[in-house]
Protein backbone atom coordinates (compact mmCIF):
# COMPACT_ATOMS: atom_id res chain seq x y z
CA UNK A 1 0.00 0.00 0.00
CA UNK A 2 1.30 3.44 -0.91
CA UNK A 3 0.14 6.04 1.61
CA UNK A 4 0.50 9.50 0.19
CA UNK A 5 1.31 12.22 2.71
CA UNK A 6 0.85 15.73 1.46
CA UNK A 7 3.73 18.09 1.94
CA UNK A 8 3.54 21.84 2.02
CA UNK A 9 0.25 23.42 1.00
CA UNK A 10 -0.19 26.77 -0.69
CA UNK A 11 -2.79 29.33 0.56
CA UNK A 12 -5.51 27.58 -1.50
CA UNK A 13 -4.72 24.29 0.24
CA UNK A 14 -3.31 22.64 -2.84
CA UNK A 15 0.02 20.86 -2.68
CA UNK A 16 3.10 22.86 -3.63
CA UNK A 17 5.45 21.54 -6.30
CA UNK A 18 3.23 19.35 -8.48
CA UNK A 19 0.47 20.13 -10.90
CA UNK A 20 -2.77 18.20 -11.47
CA UNK A 21 -1.30 17.07 -14.80
CA UNK A 22 1.53 15.31 -12.94
CA UNK A 23 -1.03 13.36 -10.95
CA UNK A 24 -3.06 12.48 -14.03
CA UNK A 25 0.05 11.28 -15.84
CA UNK A 26 1.13 9.18 -12.87
CA UNK A 27 -2.33 7.74 -12.35
CA UNK A 28 -2.55 6.72 -16.00
CA UNK A 29 0.92 5.15 -15.93
CA UNK A 30 0.34 3.07 -12.80
CA UNK A 31 -3.16 2.04 -13.86
CA UNK A 32 -2.03 1.06 -17.37
CA UNK A 33 0.76 -1.08 -15.89
CA UNK A 34 -1.89 -3.31 -14.33
CA UNK A 35 -0.51 -3.33 -10.77
CA UNK A 36 -3.26 -1.25 -9.19
CA UNK A 37 -5.69 -3.12 -6.93
CA UNK A 38 -7.41 -0.05 -5.50
CA UNK A 39 -6.77 3.64 -5.23
CA UNK A 40 -8.50 6.70 -3.86
CA UNK A 41 -7.73 10.30 -3.36
CA UNK A 42 -9.07 11.60 -0.05
CA UNK A 43 -11.26 14.69 0.30
CA UNK A 44 -10.04 17.77 2.10
CA UNK A 45 -8.84 17.37 5.67
CA UNK A 46 -11.50 19.72 7.09
CA UNK A 47 -14.08 17.06 6.16
CA UNK A 48 -12.45 14.43 8.37
CA UNK A 49 -14.09 13.10 11.51
CA UNK A 50 -12.47 11.00 14.21
CA UNK A 51 -14.16 8.28 16.24
CA UNK A 52 -12.72 6.80 19.42
CA UNK A 53 -14.34 4.26 21.70
CA UNK A 54 -13.13 4.29 25.30
CA UNK A 55 -12.74 1.21 27.53
CA UNK A 56 -16.21 1.80 28.99
CA UNK A 57 -17.73 1.66 25.52
CA UNK A 58 -18.38 5.37 25.36
CA UNK A 59 -18.09 6.77 21.90
CA UNK A 60 -16.37 10.10 21.23
CA UNK A 61 -16.75 11.79 17.90
CA UNK A 62 -14.53 14.76 17.20
CA UNK A 63 -13.60 16.94 14.34
CA UNK A 64 -10.28 15.77 12.98
CA UNK A 65 -7.75 14.28 12.83
CA UNK A 66 -6.08 17.60 13.43
CA UNK A 67 -3.06 18.36 11.39
CA UNK A 68 -0.70 18.81 14.30
CA UNK A 69 1.94 17.10 12.25
CA UNK A 70 2.86 18.59 8.92
CA UNK A 71 1.98 15.36 7.15
CA UNK A 72 -1.58 14.81 6.08
CA UNK A 73 -2.80 11.59 4.49
CA UNK A 74 -3.94 12.63 1.05
CA UNK A 75 -4.72 9.35 -0.69
CA UNK A 76 -3.55 5.82 -1.30
CA UNK A 77 -2.84 3.16 -3.87
CA UNK A 78 -3.00 -0.55 -3.18
CA UNK A 79 -0.74 -2.24 -5.69
CA UNK A 80 0.19 -5.84 -6.38
CA UNK A 81 3.93 -6.05 -7.03
CA UNK A 82 6.50 -8.79 -6.37
CA UNK A 83 8.79 -7.00 -3.92
CA UNK A 84 9.70 -3.84 -2.04
CA UNK A 85 12.03 -2.51 -4.72
CA UNK A 86 9.25 -2.44 -7.30
CA UNK A 87 6.91 -0.77 -4.81
CA UNK A 88 9.60 1.82 -4.03
CA UNK A 89 9.97 2.57 -7.71
CA UNK A 90 6.27 3.36 -8.02
CA UNK A 91 6.36 5.37 -4.81
CA UNK A 92 9.25 7.45 -6.14
CA UNK A 93 7.35 8.12 -9.37
CA UNK A 94 4.29 9.29 -7.44
CA UNK A 95 4.04 13.12 -7.47
CA UNK A 96 3.06 12.96 -3.79
CA UNK A 97 6.66 12.03 -2.92
CA UNK A 98 7.90 15.43 -4.12
CA UNK A 99 7.59 19.01 -2.92
CA UNK A 100 8.07 18.10 0.74
CA UNK A 101 5.48 15.32 0.58
CA UNK A 102 6.25 11.66 1.18
CA UNK A 103 4.90 8.24 0.36
CA UNK A 104 4.94 5.48 2.97
CA UNK A 105 5.10 1.95 1.65
CA UNK A 106 3.41 -0.67 3.81
CA UNK A 107 2.99 -4.33 3.00
CA UNK A 108 -0.53 -5.70 3.32
CA UNK A 109 -0.50 -8.39 6.00
CA UNK A 110 -1.00 -11.96 4.91
CA UNK A 111 -2.89 -14.34 7.16
CA UNK A 112 -2.54 -18.10 6.98
CA UNK A 113 -5.52 -19.73 5.37
CA UNK A 114 -6.78 -16.47 3.90
Amino acid sequence: MLLINAGELDPENSPVGCEPEDWMRFDKEITDSGVVVASESLADLVTATRVQVANDGKRTVTDGPFAETREVLGGFYVIDVPDLDVALEWAAKCPGSRGGGSVDVRPVAEFPGA
Partner: protein, 408 residues
Amino acid sequence: MDHVEAVFREERGRLLAALARRFGDLDLAEEVTSEAIEAALTRWPVDGVPPNPGGWLMTTARRKAVDRLRRDQVYAAKLAILQVEADRSAPQAAGDELPDERLQLFFTCTHPALAPEDRGALTLRCLAGLTTPEVARAFLVPTATMAKRIVRAKKKIREARIPFRVPGPDELPERLPGVLQVIYSVFTEGYAASSGPYLQRLDLAEEAIRLARILHRLLPDAREATGLLALMLLIHARRDARSGPDGDIVLLEDQDRSRWDQAMIAEGRDLVVTALTGGPAGPYAVQAAINAVHDEAADFAGTDWPQIVQLYDVLLELDPSPVIALNRAAAIALRDGPEAGLALLDELAAEPVLRDYHPFALARADLLQRLGRVPEAISAYDHALTLAGSEPEREHVRRRLAVLNASR
Protein backbone atom coordinates in the same frame (compact mmCIF):
# COMPACT_ATOMS: atom_id res chain seq x y z
CA MET B 1 40.68 -28.03 12.13
CA ASP B 2 41.36 -24.34 11.45
CA HIS B 3 41.39 -25.15 7.78
CA VAL B 4 38.05 -26.94 7.98
CA GLU B 5 36.57 -24.02 9.92
CA ALA B 6 37.81 -21.60 7.29
CA VAL B 7 36.16 -23.70 4.58
CA PHE B 8 32.86 -23.71 6.44
CA ARG B 9 33.08 -20.02 7.12
CA GLU B 10 33.58 -19.35 3.44
CA GLU B 11 30.87 -21.81 2.38
CA ARG B 12 28.40 -20.60 4.98
CA GLY B 13 27.89 -17.21 3.34
CA ARG B 14 27.52 -18.76 -0.11
CA LEU B 15 25.05 -21.37 1.07
CA LEU B 16 23.06 -18.87 3.03
CA ALA B 17 22.87 -16.50 0.08
CA ALA B 18 21.74 -19.20 -2.33
CA LEU B 19 19.10 -20.53 0.06
CA ALA B 20 17.85 -17.09 1.01
CA ARG B 21 17.41 -16.33 -2.64
CA ARG B 22 15.64 -19.59 -3.35
CA PHE B 23 13.29 -19.52 -0.37
CA GLY B 24 13.02 -15.78 0.20
CA ASP B 25 13.37 -16.36 3.93
CA LEU B 26 16.55 -15.50 5.77
CA ASP B 27 15.55 -17.31 8.96
CA LEU B 28 14.88 -20.56 7.19
CA ALA B 29 18.07 -20.18 5.17
CA GLU B 30 20.12 -19.66 8.34
CA GLU B 31 18.63 -22.63 10.14
CA VAL B 32 19.16 -25.13 7.35
CA THR B 33 22.64 -23.77 6.60
CA SER B 34 23.66 -24.45 10.19
CA GLU B 35 22.05 -27.88 10.07
CA ALA B 36 23.85 -28.80 6.86
CA ILE B 37 27.19 -27.74 8.34
CA GLU B 38 26.47 -29.76 11.48
CA ALA B 39 25.65 -32.76 9.34
CA ALA B 40 28.91 -32.33 7.46
CA LEU B 41 30.87 -32.14 10.72
CA THR B 42 29.50 -35.54 11.79
CA ARG B 43 29.47 -37.26 8.41
CA TRP B 44 32.65 -36.16 6.69
CA PRO B 45 35.08 -37.46 9.34
CA VAL B 46 33.43 -40.90 8.89
CA ASP B 47 32.60 -41.00 5.18
CA GLY B 48 35.39 -38.75 3.96
CA VAL B 49 35.02 -35.31 2.39
CA PRO B 50 32.82 -35.57 -0.72
CA PRO B 51 34.34 -34.61 -4.08
CA ASN B 52 32.11 -31.54 -4.31
CA PRO B 53 31.77 -30.23 -0.71
CA GLY B 54 29.82 -27.14 -1.72
CA GLY B 55 27.33 -29.19 -3.73
CA TRP B 56 26.95 -31.71 -0.89
CA LEU B 57 26.19 -28.94 1.60
CA MET B 58 23.73 -27.33 -0.77
CA THR B 59 21.84 -30.55 -1.45
CA THR B 60 21.67 -31.35 2.26
CA ALA B 61 20.50 -27.86 3.16
CA ARG B 62 17.84 -27.85 0.46
CA ARG B 63 16.53 -31.20 1.56
CA LYS B 64 16.31 -29.96 5.14
CA ALA B 65 14.55 -26.80 3.99
CA VAL B 66 11.95 -28.78 2.08
CA ASP B 67 11.42 -31.04 5.14
CA ARG B 68 10.84 -28.02 7.30
CA LEU B 69 8.47 -26.44 4.84
CA ARG B 70 6.49 -29.66 4.65
CA ARG B 71 6.05 -29.69 8.42
CA ASP B 72 4.97 -26.08 8.47
CA GLN B 73 1.32 -25.45 7.62
CA VAL B 74 1.83 -21.78 6.84
CA TYR B 75 4.32 -22.70 4.18
CA ALA B 76 2.25 -25.43 2.58
CA ALA B 77 1.10 -23.32 -0.34
CA LYS B 78 4.54 -21.81 -0.85
CA LEU B 79 6.03 -25.27 -0.95
CA ALA B 80 4.18 -26.26 -4.08
CA ILE B 81 5.55 -23.27 -5.93
CA LEU B 82 9.04 -23.75 -4.54
CA GLN B 83 9.25 -27.36 -5.64
CA VAL B 84 8.35 -26.44 -9.16
CA GLU B 85 10.96 -23.70 -9.07
CA ALA B 86 13.61 -25.93 -7.53
CA ASP B 87 13.10 -28.56 -10.21
CA ARG B 88 13.29 -26.01 -12.94
CA SER B 89 16.43 -24.26 -11.75
CA ALA B 90 18.29 -27.11 -10.01
CA PRO B 91 21.97 -26.41 -10.63
CA GLN B 92 23.06 -29.73 -9.09
CA ALA B 93 23.76 -31.58 -12.29
CA ALA B 94 25.73 -28.74 -13.78
CA GLY B 95 28.99 -29.82 -12.15
CA ASP B 96 31.12 -28.35 -9.39
CA GLU B 97 30.36 -24.71 -9.97
CA LEU B 98 27.50 -23.42 -7.86
CA PRO B 99 26.38 -19.90 -8.65
CA ASP B 100 27.67 -17.40 -6.09
CA GLU B 101 24.68 -15.49 -4.81
CA ARG B 102 26.45 -13.59 -2.07
CA LEU B 103 26.25 -10.38 -4.06
CA GLN B 104 22.46 -10.47 -3.81
CA LEU B 105 22.77 -10.99 -0.08
CA PHE B 106 25.09 -7.96 0.25
CA PHE B 107 22.42 -5.78 -1.31
CA THR B 108 19.67 -7.28 0.82
CA CYS B 109 21.54 -6.82 4.10
CA THR B 110 22.38 -3.21 3.26
CA HIS B 111 19.01 -2.26 1.79
CA PRO B 112 18.11 1.39 2.53
CA ALA B 113 14.74 0.25 3.91
CA LEU B 114 16.62 -1.25 6.88
CA ALA B 115 17.75 0.85 9.85
CA PRO B 116 21.35 1.97 9.27
CA GLU B 117 22.60 0.32 12.47
CA ASP B 118 21.00 -2.98 11.47
CA ARG B 119 22.69 -3.12 8.08
CA GLY B 120 26.15 -3.66 9.53
CA ALA B 121 24.84 -6.22 12.00
CA LEU B 122 23.08 -8.26 9.31
CA THR B 123 26.10 -8.10 7.03
CA LEU B 124 28.39 -9.45 9.74
CA ARG B 125 25.85 -12.11 10.70
CA CYS B 126 24.94 -13.35 7.21
CA LEU B 127 27.95 -12.66 5.04
CA ALA B 128 30.84 -12.82 7.48
CA GLY B 129 29.22 -15.73 9.31
CA LEU B 130 29.64 -14.25 12.78
CA THR B 131 27.43 -15.61 15.55
CA THR B 132 24.95 -13.26 17.22
CA PRO B 133 27.13 -12.88 20.36
CA GLU B 134 30.10 -12.07 18.10
CA VAL B 135 28.08 -9.43 16.24
CA ALA B 136 26.92 -8.02 19.59
CA ARG B 137 30.54 -7.76 20.72
CA ALA B 138 31.44 -6.04 17.45
CA PHE B 139 28.89 -3.31 18.07
CA LEU B 140 29.40 -3.28 21.84
CA VAL B 141 25.79 -4.03 22.71
CA PRO B 142 24.38 -6.82 24.90
CA THR B 143 23.73 -10.10 23.06
CA ALA B 144 20.00 -9.98 23.85
CA THR B 145 19.72 -6.51 22.34
CA MET B 146 21.54 -7.59 19.21
CA ALA B 147 19.43 -10.75 18.92
CA LYS B 148 16.29 -8.61 19.03
CA ARG B 149 17.64 -6.23 16.41
CA ILE B 150 18.56 -9.07 14.07
CA VAL B 151 15.16 -10.70 14.50
CA ARG B 152 13.43 -7.39 13.75
CA ALA B 153 15.56 -6.75 10.67
CA LYS B 154 14.91 -10.24 9.31
CA LYS B 155 11.19 -9.77 9.89
CA LYS B 156 11.33 -6.55 7.93
CA ILE B 157 13.13 -8.28 5.05
CA ARG B 158 10.53 -11.04 5.00
CA GLU B 159 7.37 -9.02 5.51
CA ALA B 160 8.21 -5.89 3.56
CA ARG B 161 9.56 -8.24 0.86
CA ILE B 162 12.97 -6.73 0.48
CA PRO B 163 14.15 -8.67 -2.55
CA PHE B 164 17.28 -10.80 -2.90
CA ARG B 165 18.58 -9.19 -6.03
CA VAL B 166 21.45 -7.21 -7.43
CA PRO B 167 20.25 -3.77 -8.51
CA GLY B 168 20.28 -3.17 -12.24
CA PRO B 169 22.92 -0.99 -13.91
CA ASP B 170 20.79 2.14 -13.53
CA GLU B 171 20.29 1.59 -9.79
CA LEU B 172 23.74 0.27 -8.95
CA PRO B 173 25.48 3.67 -8.65
CA GLU B 174 22.82 4.62 -6.11
CA ARG B 175 22.97 1.40 -4.10
CA LEU B 176 26.65 0.42 -4.14
CA PRO B 177 27.79 3.28 -1.86
CA GLY B 178 25.47 1.88 0.82
CA VAL B 179 27.18 -1.51 0.68
CA LEU B 180 30.65 0.05 0.74
CA GLN B 181 29.64 2.30 3.63
CA VAL B 182 28.62 -0.69 5.75
CA ILE B 183 31.92 -2.48 5.12
CA TYR B 184 33.93 0.66 5.79
CA SER B 185 32.09 1.38 9.03
CA VAL B 186 32.97 -2.12 10.27
CA PHE B 187 36.58 -1.38 9.36
CA THR B 188 36.75 2.04 11.02
CA GLU B 189 35.32 0.61 14.23
CA GLY B 190 38.16 -1.93 14.05
CA TYR B 191 40.74 0.73 13.22
CA ALA B 192 39.88 3.07 16.07
CA ALA B 193 37.43 1.58 18.54
CA SER B 194 34.93 4.25 19.54
CA SER B 195 35.18 3.21 23.18
CA GLY B 196 36.63 0.54 25.40
CA PRO B 197 40.10 -0.45 26.54
CA TYR B 198 41.68 -1.13 23.14
CA LEU B 199 42.75 1.21 20.40
CA GLN B 200 42.36 -1.30 17.60
CA ARG B 201 40.13 -4.31 17.13
CA LEU B 202 42.03 -6.26 14.53
CA ASP B 203 39.36 -8.96 14.23
CA LEU B 204 36.83 -6.40 13.00
CA ALA B 205 39.26 -4.73 10.61
CA GLU B 206 40.16 -8.12 9.15
CA GLU B 207 36.52 -9.12 8.83
CA ALA B 208 35.86 -5.91 6.87
CA ILE B 209 38.79 -6.63 4.57
CA ARG B 210 37.49 -10.15 4.01
CA LEU B 211 34.06 -8.77 3.07
CA ALA B 212 35.64 -6.20 0.74
CA ARG B 213 37.65 -8.96 -0.95
CA ILE B 214 34.47 -10.94 -1.59
CA LEU B 215 32.72 -7.87 -2.96
CA HIS B 216 35.67 -6.96 -5.15
CA ARG B 217 35.77 -10.51 -6.53
CA LEU B 218 32.04 -10.40 -7.29
CA LEU B 219 32.12 -6.89 -8.80
CA PRO B 220 35.59 -6.62 -10.37
CA ASP B 221 34.57 -3.63 -12.50
CA ALA B 222 33.17 -1.53 -9.67
CA ARG B 223 36.10 0.83 -9.16
CA GLU B 224 34.94 2.14 -5.82
CA ALA B 225 34.78 -1.42 -4.47
CA THR B 226 38.38 -1.80 -5.64
CA GLY B 227 39.20 1.57 -4.09
CA LEU B 228 37.70 0.57 -0.75
CA LEU B 229 39.68 -2.68 -0.60
CA ALA B 230 42.85 -0.76 -1.49
CA LEU B 231 42.15 1.85 1.17
CA MET B 232 41.64 -0.69 3.93
CA LEU B 233 44.75 -2.69 2.98
CA LEU B 234 46.92 0.44 2.87
CA ILE B 235 45.71 1.50 6.33
CA HIS B 236 45.76 -1.99 7.84
CA ALA B 237 49.35 -2.47 6.64
CA ARG B 238 50.41 -0.11 9.47
CA ARG B 239 48.53 -1.98 12.25
CA ASP B 240 51.58 -3.41 14.06
CA ALA B 241 53.31 -0.04 14.24
CA ARG B 242 50.23 1.87 15.42
CA SER B 243 50.41 0.81 19.03
CA GLY B 244 53.30 0.50 21.42
CA PRO B 245 54.07 -2.42 23.76
CA ASP B 246 51.56 -1.16 26.36
CA GLY B 247 48.82 -0.67 23.79
CA ASP B 248 49.46 3.07 23.63
CA ILE B 249 49.01 5.08 20.43
CA VAL B 250 52.04 5.60 18.21
CA LEU B 251 51.45 8.47 15.78
CA LEU B 252 52.30 8.14 12.11
CA GLU B 253 55.36 10.34 12.54
CA ASP B 254 56.79 8.14 15.30
CA GLN B 255 55.99 4.75 13.81
CA ASP B 256 58.69 2.18 13.12
CA ARG B 257 58.13 1.85 9.39
CA SER B 258 60.01 -1.43 9.21
CA ARG B 259 56.98 -2.94 10.95
CA TRP B 260 54.63 -1.98 8.14
CA ASP B 261 53.32 -4.91 6.13
CA GLN B 262 55.04 -4.47 2.77
CA ALA B 263 53.12 -7.26 1.03
CA MET B 264 49.83 -5.63 2.00
CA ILE B 265 51.11 -2.23 0.85
CA ALA B 266 52.12 -3.68 -2.53
CA GLU B 267 48.71 -5.30 -2.96
CA GLY B 268 46.94 -2.09 -1.98
CA ARG B 269 49.05 -0.05 -4.35
CA ASP B 270 48.23 -2.31 -7.30
CA LEU B 271 44.54 -2.05 -6.49
CA VAL B 272 44.66 1.72 -6.13
CA VAL B 273 46.14 2.06 -9.59
CA THR B 274 43.19 0.08 -10.99
CA ALA B 275 40.72 2.12 -8.96
CA LEU B 276 42.14 5.39 -10.28
CA THR B 277 42.26 4.44 -13.97
CA GLY B 278 39.54 4.75 -16.58
CA GLY B 279 37.40 7.66 -15.49
CA PRO B 280 36.96 10.09 -12.62
CA ALA B 281 38.02 8.59 -9.30
CA GLY B 282 35.60 8.07 -6.42
CA PRO B 283 36.20 9.09 -2.80
CA TYR B 284 37.46 5.68 -1.63
CA ALA B 285 40.00 5.52 -4.44
CA VAL B 286 41.29 9.01 -3.60
CA GLN B 287 41.56 8.19 0.10
CA ALA B 288 43.42 5.03 -0.87
CA ALA B 289 45.81 7.14 -2.97
CA ILE B 290 46.48 9.40 0.04
CA ASN B 291 47.33 6.37 2.14
CA ALA B 292 49.52 4.97 -0.63
CA VAL B 293 51.56 8.20 -0.55
CA HIS B 294 51.98 7.83 3.24
CA ASP B 295 52.97 4.19 2.91
CA GLU B 296 55.55 4.94 0.22
CA ALA B 297 57.46 7.51 2.26
CA ALA B 298 60.71 6.29 3.81
CA ASP B 299 60.13 8.56 6.81
CA PHE B 300 57.60 11.14 7.99
CA ALA B 301 59.62 14.17 6.89
CA GLY B 302 60.10 12.59 3.46
CA THR B 303 56.33 12.32 2.87
CA ASP B 304 55.20 14.00 -0.33
CA TRP B 305 52.98 16.59 1.43
CA PRO B 306 52.25 18.66 -1.69
CA GLN B 307 50.81 15.56 -3.35
CA ILE B 308 48.78 14.70 -0.26
CA VAL B 309 47.32 18.21 -0.16
CA GLN B 310 46.42 17.93 -3.86
CA LEU B 311 44.65 14.64 -3.24
CA TYR B 312 42.74 16.18 -0.34
CA ASP B 313 41.68 19.01 -2.69
CA VAL B 314 40.21 16.39 -5.03
CA LEU B 315 38.58 14.55 -2.13
CA LEU B 316 37.04 17.72 -0.76
CA GLU B 317 35.42 18.32 -4.15
CA LEU B 318 33.94 14.82 -4.13
CA ASP B 319 32.88 14.92 -0.51
CA PRO B 320 32.81 18.43 0.96
CA SER B 321 32.62 17.28 4.58
CA PRO B 322 34.14 19.11 7.58
CA VAL B 323 36.13 16.00 8.56
CA ILE B 324 37.88 15.97 5.19
CA ALA B 325 38.48 19.71 5.46
CA LEU B 326 40.12 19.00 8.84
CA ASN B 327 42.44 16.38 7.35
CA ARG B 328 43.32 18.72 4.51
CA ALA B 329 44.17 21.46 7.01
CA ALA B 330 46.47 19.03 8.84
CA ALA B 331 48.24 18.19 5.58
CA ILE B 332 48.60 21.90 4.76
CA ALA B 333 50.14 22.44 8.19
CA LEU B 334 52.80 19.90 7.27
CA ARG B 335 53.37 21.43 3.85
CA ASP B 336 53.27 25.13 4.76
CA GLY B 337 53.82 25.20 8.52
CA PRO B 338 51.61 25.13 11.65
CA GLU B 339 50.49 28.75 11.31
CA ALA B 340 48.77 28.09 7.96
CA GLY B 341 47.16 24.94 9.35
CA LEU B 342 45.87 26.67 12.48
CA ALA B 343 44.31 29.47 10.42
CA LEU B 344 42.35 26.84 8.47
CA LEU B 345 41.31 25.04 11.64
CA ASP B 346 40.01 28.28 13.14
CA GLU B 347 37.86 28.75 10.04
CA LEU B 348 36.41 25.27 10.62
CA ALA B 349 35.84 25.69 14.36
CA ALA B 350 32.21 26.71 13.92
CA GLU B 351 31.27 23.46 12.16
CA PRO B 352 28.83 21.60 14.42
CA VAL B 353 30.28 18.22 13.40
CA LEU B 354 33.74 19.25 14.56
CA ARG B 355 32.85 21.00 17.78
CA ASP B 356 32.91 17.77 19.78
CA TYR B 357 35.16 15.78 17.47
CA HIS B 358 38.20 14.43 19.30
CA PRO B 359 40.60 14.50 16.31
CA PHE B 360 39.76 18.15 15.66
CA ALA B 361 40.51 19.16 19.25
CA LEU B 362 43.71 17.14 19.14
CA ALA B 363 44.89 18.63 15.85
CA ARG B 364 44.32 22.13 17.19
CA ALA B 365 46.21 21.37 20.40
CA ASP B 366 49.10 19.91 18.43
CA LEU B 367 49.44 22.97 16.16
CA LEU B 368 49.26 25.36 19.13
CA GLN B 369 52.01 23.34 20.80
CA ARG B 370 54.17 23.47 17.68
CA LEU B 371 53.73 27.24 17.61
CA GLY B 372 54.93 27.47 21.22
CA ARG B 373 51.59 28.83 22.46
CA VAL B 374 51.79 26.66 25.56
CA PRO B 375 48.89 27.89 27.75
CA GLU B 376 46.47 27.70 24.80
CA ALA B 377 47.81 24.28 23.86
CA ILE B 378 47.25 23.03 27.43
CA SER B 379 43.64 24.16 27.45
CA ALA B 380 43.12 22.63 23.99
CA TYR B 381 44.53 19.28 25.22
CA ASP B 382 42.27 19.50 28.27
CA HIS B 383 39.34 19.85 25.90
CA ALA B 384 40.55 16.94 23.73
CA LEU B 385 40.80 14.78 26.86
CA THR B 386 37.08 15.18 27.53
CA LEU B 387 36.24 14.04 23.97
CA ALA B 388 38.48 10.98 23.67
CA GLY B 389 36.56 7.71 23.20
CA SER B 390 38.93 4.87 24.07
CA GLU B 391 41.33 4.55 26.98
CA PRO B 392 44.48 4.62 24.78
CA GLU B 393 43.25 7.89 23.23
CA ARG B 394 42.88 9.43 26.68
CA GLU B 395 46.27 8.12 27.76
CA HIS B 396 47.85 9.66 24.66
CA VAL B 397 46.44 13.09 25.50
CA ARG B 398 47.49 12.77 29.14
CA ARG B 399 51.06 12.02 28.13
CA ARG B 400 51.24 15.02 25.84
CA LEU B 401 49.83 17.20 28.60
CA ALA B 402 52.45 15.90 31.02
CA VAL B 403 55.26 16.77 28.61
CA LEU B 404 53.85 20.26 28.07
CA ASN B 405 53.38 20.94 31.78
CA ALA B 406 56.93 19.79 32.47
CA SER B 407 58.26 22.22 29.88
CA ARG B 408 56.72 25.26 31.51
